[in-house]
Amino acid sequence: MSDSLTLPDCLPAALKNSLLALLPKQGLLTEIEELRPYECDGLSVYRQLPMAVCLPETVAQVQQILRLCYRYAIPVVARGAGTGLSGGALPLANGILLSLARFTRILEIDKENRLARVEPGVRNLAISEAVADLGLFYAPDPSSQIACTIGGNVAENSGGVHCLKYGLTLHNVQGLKVLTITGELLELGGDVLDSPGYDLLALMCGSEGLLAVIVEVTVRLLPKPKEVSVLMAAFESTEKAAAVVTDIIANGILPAGLEMMDQLAIQAAEDFVHVGYPTSAAALLLCELDGSIAEVASELECVEKLFFEAGATDIVIARDDRMRQRLWAGRKAAFPAVGRLSADYYCMDGTIPRHRLSTVLKQIKVWSEEYGLRVANVFHAGDGNLHPLILYDANQPGELAKTEAFGQKILELCVAVGGTVTGEHGVGIEKLDAMCSQFGADELAVYHGIKKAFDEQGLLNPGKAIPTLQRCAEFGAMHVHDGELSFPELERF
């Protein structure tokens, strides 16, 4: 995309002066070169420079910025680390980018109540590191955890490898302090397990910066399990691997993590980090079990038996830390590893009921051949959260458009089999059209109503997360109504 297309509007002089007066030194960026690092998030196909970037250091400063923007009717996009994968933190040409990157303090660690109160710019991993000495950890662990912020995690309701057992961000956050666009500070939840009135804390999780700016987060900490084991099993077909995923759950076992990789992903990971993955396998499962020593031992035995019965061609059990790290290393490096195979890749994020894994993976394969685009699958199999990575080359004319069309088809399929267009990456700017296939006009109207209840003028991250009714009408995919389903050949339930 050429520069001229992403140039922002001009920051009104009066607003600029007010911002300069309230922000610390180097807290206001307005030069094109300074703005450049903020032009996109992790979804770099979309780029836009904001009018200015604000880097406040105190809650009072954030409050003043919001009040000013409200007064001048200037849109505000909040940003944590910018690792989001749906363009949620993409700046607006007529807006301010509000970075929370300087809010990096851990305010309080409350061992007795097993809580940590932190600023929104604290990195996800930094929390677990800070409480490791106490034998505690913060459970949600997105693969981006060394970089992404807790504020961004709340805004996206992020998951991770361990959320099958320990839940998403929503399940592990107990309190928030947020600022509305008018600068009103609201306290939601706190050190207690529930709070009076409507559950606005739940509503904030996954609200993608549209409702309020998160300025403080109280997270729940868990004691570290005494024992952790990882099993790796190779299969000669993805169907077989998918079937065992269901079997494990059906046997009453809830693994800490249950991840799957297909052939292309296995090969890419092995070439990249050399951990000893069986590159001839069609599918690989990684199953982590944790708990007390006795518990892990008996579950391990059960899972091993299930793998064996399902015809696993290779089973490896990691009992020590080093071996465990090694088995996970390939999975954790899978995205960058796949990135080496192709100029670009596009990461999808639909979730489907577990028993549809096989059907959906098969269909993706068929389309992959039809479109002539390779797909690598690395995903959270235990909770049916798919991450097909479509390999393409943005420099080939038309290939991005083709990729997006393919991606859209995958998401529509996810909805058709009873799933959703986004499991953990959010809608952002990317999945607005896909939202039209999942929701009807009435639901969208309610979403817009909720947005208005918080932000009457529509100044917080406008245009993201919820498509306008008009957009859906033009897109022509409004809600898949019974009787006119988009995949009539598929069995329903």
Binding site: N113, G135, G167, H355, D383, G418, D442, K452
Partner: protein
């Protein structure tokens, strides 16, 4: 029994809307005592019942709002599964929809999550009779605002819940309860120590000088921990009766003419005098007291928590912890989105919901 009466319910709402008739949404009336007194024409959801889908391997159940909670729990138990949050059954037992609208969780809550944690999606009718569907049947889902969880615990003041999907979990193979005599302060200290220790805990409560700790998991896990903790093993029947009695408020403690208060506090909040039971490892304390609402709320505020008048007392006053003005204004605007005419369960949650008309 299986019946879909959503069209009928929709018609009643549209009629009520045309006539501005206040509606009182009722499942089985098992929680009539809960919340503020609210008047309105009864809208009975009990006839909208039946399990819509339940696939044990997906760990998800979808049922209509009028489904008796006991029936649903029996269906889960048959497959060795349960609702993770351990919902209370009052009186006749309650309905699935009433359970979600009330949003209550039992003794297992601190260890297995709350009701709203388990809600994956729901279908409802709003105050204009619009049929809405939020969330879905999968655990990981961030499409659209999380309105199914907003509706959980809203006491029927936003919409009529028609159907919901919840995450379920396998039942533990073994459950044992350990008993130890100790005073309140010692019990609270012990609870926090155990909670920090990566144990298969599933409930911790204290009553009348007795600390009860329940462990759930497989046989080996539970028995090793038992040796670690020490304490006396409670007889199975007595343990079961205690935990369900605590959950469903059938212990002798709960039969009293004094108002029953529910204090939601930081788990490690200090002990205090009073006729009380500690549940949720310290995070939920049931207090029988004739003291004024202001005094009790002051007490809980000082400890960083809140207090609701759960049973008895003045049901025309504010029974739930009053909200800060900015929060109340926001909740009124949210109410407006769902129920602009203020038809549903007027004032059941707060006198100011619906807001000034």
């Amino acid at each position: 029994m299986d019946a879909d009466i959503s069209i009928h319910l929709q018609e009643q709402i549209i009629l009520a809307q045309a006539r501005s008739t206040a509606l009182a949404i009722v499942g089985s009336a098992s929680k009539d005592f809960l919340g503020r007194r609210s008047r309105g024409q009864v809208l009975s959801v009990a006839g909208h019942c039946g399990i819509v889908s339940y696939d044990p391997t997906e760990l998800v159940i979808t049922a209509r709002a009028g489904t008796p909670l006991r029936e649903l729990q029996a269906a889960l138990a048959e497959k060795g599964q349960m609702l993770p949050f351990d919902p209370p059954c009052y009186a006749a037992g309650g309905t699935f929809g009433g359970m979600i609208a009330a949003g209550l969780s039992g003794p297992r809550r601190p260890f297995a999550g709350s009701l709203r944690d388990a809600v994956l999606g729901l279908r409802c009718l709003d105050g204009q009779g619009r049929l809405l569907s939020f969330g879905g049947q999968v655990v990981k889902n961030v499409a659209g605002f999380d309105l199914s969880r907003l509706l959980s615990g809203s006491m029927g003041t936003l919409a009529v819940i028609l159907e919901a999907s919840l995450r379920v979990v396998p039942c533990a193979a073994t459950e044992i309860t350990l008993l130890q005599s100790c005073d309140q302060a010692a019990a609270l200290t012990k609870m926090q120590r155990l909670a920090c220790a990566a144990l298969p805990l599933s409930a911790m409560a204290w009553q009348q000088g007795q600390l009860m700790v329940r462990l759930s998991g497989n046989q080996e896990a539970v028995s090793t921990v038992r040796e670690e903790i020490g304490a006396v093993l409670m007889a199975d029947d007595a343990a079961k009766a205690f935990w369900s009695g605590l959950r469903d408020q059938r212990l002798p403690f709960f039969s009293s003419s004094q108002p029953l208060w529910r204090l939601s506090l930081p788990a490690a909040a200090a002990p205090f005098d009073g006729d009380l039971i500690i549940d949720w490892g310290g995070a939920q304390r049931w207090l029988k007291s004739a003291a004024t609402a202001a005094d009790i709320r002051q007490l809980s505020r000082n400890m960083g928590g809140s207090a609701d008048c759960f049973r008895g007392g003045d049901r025309d006053g504010e029974v739930y912890q009053p909200l800060a003005p900015a929060l109340m204004a926001l909740q009124q605007r949210i109410k407006q989105v769902f129920d602009p005419q203020g038809l549903f369960n007027r004032g059941r949650l707060y006198a100011a919901l619906p807001g000034p008309c």
